[in-house]
Symmetry: C2
Subunit: 208 residues, 2 copies
């Protein structure tokens, strides 16, 4: 089975369990099998359709209710089978969503780790440092690199801690595993989007 | 008395108590009086010197010891007469410095409010929203504008709260007054840099 999560910058494929990524503006292969996809990027979707006849959009099969206006499809897919947890999807942005008794209660959007780091050189070239992922968060920093690394990590960790109130936190996304280590009450799920896409396909066996 | 704080982007003058700002690449007036200045910007300093003969650099008169490596001169000047407080200077970056018994214990550097907001459109055009300065920080957001505004404010507020441990917090800088309102134990000082420049001049009366 071929699954594809089409994002702003990447085609993220899962081909019989194996992952492949292509930038949306790069060449993508011809696939001979049906592709189930979700997409937040119309142009990239058109490109995939142009190369492959048999592709099925899973969005119409998603059942997810929320009062949140403007929630991205990938966020909805990630949350849709969760019961009681905070979902943190740490990619180019870090979305934080609160699920309580299977209901979506809202959420917030932090910049991703890379975006966060990239702000600083735009303020001053003196603040152009690499993230020290091992900075000690229990000590007040004593140099610029640590001062920025500490600020970035604390700015992400503290708002999540504040909202989680010791509830379980589920991490996913490229930086999910790294960030999950700063929380006692956390689990990391690498492929929550693909897992949930498969569950939607299974639940709607008419479409397989 | 004319004071000038030369930053990365701005000449910030205090002329007998009145403030004037000029971008570093714009025309600046000829002053007929002595100018006392501090600077983190060599090119801008050269420009000021070129127009005005009688200018005095206050940096050599500053007595400020710290183990922090690479602390900006403006940060040192802001901290130099403080005893026990957290100093938050909220400008293009937000520097947070811990002073304990007149000693500088270190600090960290958050992006300024504007820089923070400007990250989001660089991640996705869907995240290009204005900061809602009145977002309710006690409710989980239910739309993109609030989701981003909540994240920005929490990312700044929570790390400062965490480090302050109910100690007094002194705010200064362009966004200092706005941010101070989120803290019970805060005071706002508009002109801490100029106040301290005057104190350095007074303490070294040889230079007046």
């Amino acid at each position: 089975m071929i699954l594809c999560d089409i994002g702003n910058t990447t085609f993220h494929f899962n081909i019989n369990g194996e992952e492949q990524r292509y930038l949306v503006n790069s060449e993508i292969p011809d696939f001979k099998e049906r592709i189930y996809y979700i997409s937040v990027n119309e142009n990239a979707t058109a490109k995939l359709k142009h190369k492959n006849d048999d592709i099925i959009d899973l969005e119409p099969y998603l059942e997810f209710k929320t009062k949140y206006v403007g929630m991205g499809l990938d966020r909805k897919i990630a949350c849709c089978f969760l019961e009681d947890t905070i979902l943190v999807d740490a990619g180019s942005a870090i979305t934080v969503d609160i699920m309580k008794k299977k209901k979506h209660k809202g959420g917030f959007i932090l910049p991703g780790l890379k975006a966060f780091r990239d702000i600083y050189p735009q303020i001053s070239h003196k603040l152009d440092v690499d993230l020290n992922t091992k900075v000690n968060l229990d000590k007040i920093p004593l140099c610029t690199k640590d001062a920025i690394s500490y600020a970035i990590l604390k700015s992400i960790i503290e708002p999540i801690k504040k909202v989680s109130k010791k509830k379980q936190i589920t991490f996913t996304g490229g930086d999910g595993e790294f960030l999950s280590k700063f929380f006692d009450n956390s689990i990391y799920k690498k492929d929550i989007i693909f897992e949930n896409m498969r569950r939607i396909i299974d639940a709607n066996n008419c479409i397989t």
